[in-house]
């Protein structure tokens, strides 16, 4: 079977036995995810790149201890998260990236978010306004709440895997996320009133 057809966990088992081509395949698969994830925390492209590299070095050095019954992605995100949090502490820059910055990255040259392209003009306008309101509301959330949003909706992890990244249970993650989303509803309403 070719490397690209093997599961992440099989590749980790191979890496644990010293086959470095398995690491190369894992880097190919996850380098964008890990880099983007680090960027969420660090705001700085170069530092995010360094931490992403460091994450894969950790994968290599810990490969002998990896439990192949675990899922690889939450495990590797957990490593990346710890590295980023340590880096933030090291630099005394404890605040996570605001979603304002994500939003500016997400805007087209016109400065507007381009989405719902299949809908009619009115729908596009309404959707854009709603999303802009949502972004404003997100920026007022605390770091922990934003981290949950990033993991769940930006990295598309289910609650069970989020729990593996940040610790706790999937039930606890859903409860927290529910609380965050309901708080967002209030914040959303405030932002709407401000407009």
């Amino acid at each position: 079977m070719k490397a690209e057809e093997r599961t992440d966990e099989v590749l980790m088992a191979e890496l644990g036995r010293g086959r470095e081509t398995a690491l190369a395949e894992l880097v190919r698969r996850y380098q964008h995810d890990i880099y983007r994830f680090c960027l969420h925390y660090l705001k700085d492209a170069e530092t995010a790149r360094e931490m992403a590299q460091e994450t894969f070095i950790r994968v290599y050095t810990a490969s002998g201890r990896f439990d192949v019954n675990r899922k690889f992605k939450p495990w590797v995100l957990c490593i990346a998260r710890n590295l980023c949090l340590n880096e933030l502490k090291r630099k005394r820059a404890l605040s996570m990236e605001t979603l304002e910055d994500y939003a500016s990255d997400s805007r087209g040259e016109s400065g507007e978010i381009v989405r719902y392209s299949g809908s009619g003009p009115d729908e596009v306008l309404m959707a854009r306004e709603r999303l802009e309101l949502l972004e404003r509301a997100l920026n007022d959330l605390g770091d922990e709440a934003r981290e949950l949003i990033v993991l769940r909706f930006f990295e598309r992890l289910p609650a069970k895997e989020i729990a593996e990244v940040i610790g706790g249970t999937d039930g606890a993650v859903r409860t927290k996320l529910h609380r965050v989303l309901m708080a967002l509803r209030q914040q959303y309403a405030i932002c709407k009133d401000d407009l």
Binding site: V27, Q53, E54, A62, L85, N86, L181
Partner: protein, 513 residues
């Protein structure tokens, strides 16, 4: 939220959106949503906001800049393979809270080496370039670096008046008391046999006798130490408060200590001391390195300015062969000013444990104060030992630069322990760590072939001798205090002041010897 009955349904709404609830619960929830407009409104909101957030996420994923890490990662892996050290043997199981059970590792080494270094340079250290006054100023500055910050402003002690032989006589019993088994019955006086737990007055009398009597020191040690069997019994007692059980954790088998500490963390999730104790416990268990590292990381999050966790993380990472990460952790630790082994917290929890074991309140405070720092001394010295052992392994593999980096970091660890010391035990640990690091560095081929390096190390060791002497003078001050007219009330005040402020702060209140 709507009606109290809605609570269970609210908690399932996200599960429904994720398709992560079982069919029976889903049917129940859908039926509720048909009849509860508030919950149905919340569900609609959650579905809409989840969809919008996923749209934002998609946009972010699409717009994120591309990256190609493959070549760099594989090149780094090749470098890591070159420098990856042999795993360091797992740390020996330790943890107890005995009175003055100083671990002998660095202490004995330092005491012996102090004599050697002094013998080599008997007239006040090696010659060094520069005017004498400048050398003296530098030496004074170095001495201040080896004094706890709270003492640094004071005039240097009359340390030079204390002979090396006296120093050894004073410090060695502090580190290595007569061994005893906490499970066995203590050798007791007739008074002690009548009382299962000592009174404040009995502790005071024994402390006074301990000035001249090794036997009294042993009995005091036994009195201040709960037997392991007692600790296990108390830990199982549901009526004992969790704080008291935390004080017992060091006396419990690992699995029972883990249960106690995890339960305490549930009650006090932000208490860094609890994380530290859990991490120390895991660190002592072979095969629990990953668990230990997670707890050190959590401690680092809870107490980001404290270098202790970063040094421990570095040691852990070296043990696991993660050299680059370990190096980063050391650099991080060295960038910090503060190092706290949480001796005050440990003493407070131990006081609660003694009370739970039936010791009267005043006696518990006194016993906790007199034994404060014992465990932390051992932990700090062990940390230095782990890192030095790693350095030796790396040196054997030929990476001398990395080994020297580690030895230097250990010296830094010792200096930080001294500067931040609130307790004499921490001060002594810092000095022992530094002397061990200087000794190891002095044995490297680089130092052996460089007279200048050897001279510099000898100078550092001379400075440590001065600081050891100052600490010895401090112990004499405490002994002098107890040889005076100390009442039970004054003893209790003394003990409480130590628990609140550390014994080095209390030293400031006593006339120096």
């Amino acid at each position: 939220m709507n009606e109290p009955a809605c609570e269970k349904y609210q908690n399932r709404l996200l599960g429904l959106i994720e398709n992560a609830i079982d069919p029976a619960a889903e049917a129940d929830l859908r039926e509720h949503l048909e009849h509860c407009p508030d919950c149905a409104g919340d569900y609609r909101w959650l579905r809409a906001v989840c969809a919008d957030l996923e749209t934002l996420g998609d946009e972010w994923r699409r717009q994120a800049p591309p990256v190609d890490l493959l070549d760099d990662v594989m090149e780094m892996v090749a470098r890591v393979k070159e420098v990856r050290p042999c795993p360091v043997p797992a740390a020996p199981v330790r943890r107890s809270i005995p009175w003055m059970r100083w671990s002998g590792f660095a202490g004995a080494l330092a005491a012996a080496l102090l004599l050697i270094w002094v013998a080599v340079f008997p007239t006040g250290g090696p010659s060094a370039p520069g005017p004498r006054a400048e050398r003296e100023n530098g030496r004074r500055r170095a001495m201040d670096m080896n004094r706890p910050a709270r003492l640094a402003a004071k005039t240097p002690s009359r340390s030079s008046q204390i002979a090396m032989a006296d120093l050894k006589k004073i410090l060695d019993p502090m580190r290595t008391p007569p061994s005893h088994d906490t499970e066995s019955a203590p050798e007791t006086s007739p008074v002690m046999e009548e009382a299962k737990t000592p009174s404040l007055h009995e502790l005071l009398e024994l402390r006074k006798q301990a000035i001249d009597s090794p036997d009294a020191r042993t009995r005091l040690s036994l009195w201040a130490t709960l037997a392991n069997a007692t600790a296990r019994e108390l830990a199982k007692d549901a009526g004992i408060p969790i704080e008291a059980k935390v004080g017992l954790a060091g006396l419990l088998p690992a699995d029972e200590a883990e249960s106690v500490l995890l339960a305490a963390i549930e009650s006090f999730p932000d208490d860094p001391y609890l994380r530290k104790e859990l991490a120390e416990m895991y660190s002592a268990q072979p095969g629990s390195e990953a668990k230990a590292l997670a707890q050190w990381q959590e401690l680092s999050r809870l107490d980001p300015d404290n270098a202790y966790a970063s040094f421990k993380m570095a040691s852990n990472m070296f043990t696991q062969g993660d050299v680059d990460a370990a190096r980063l952790a050391i650099e991080h630790a060295r960038a910090l000013e503060r190092l706290d082994a949480y001796t005050r917290n440990a003493a407070k929890y131990y006081e609660r444990a003694l009370e739970a074991a039936g010791t009267e309140s005043g006696a518990a405070a006194a016993a906790a104060a007199l034994s404060a720092g014992t465990g932390e001394y051992a932990q700090l010295v062990e940390l230095g030992n782990e890192l030095l052992q790693t350095g030796r392994n790396i040196e054997q593999q030929g990476d001398n630069d990395l080994a020297l980096f580690i030895y230097d970091a250990v010296q830094n660890l010792g200096a930080m322990a001294v500067r931040n010391a609130l307790f004499s035990a921490e001060w002594l640990a810092g000095l022992d760590i530094q002397s061990a690091a200087i000794t190891v560095e002095g044995e490297t081929p680089a130092a052996q072939t460089s007279p200048d390096t050897l001279a510099g190390l000898a100078q550092q060791m001379q400075d440590l001798v001065a600081s050891y002497n100052e600490l010895a003078a401090y112990y004499r001050t405490i002994d002098a205090f107890f040889s005076g007219d100390v009442t039970d009330a004054l003893f209790l005040l003394f003990a409480n002041l130590i628990l609140q402020n550390g014994d080095l702060n209390v030293l400031q209140l006593l006339p120096r010897q």
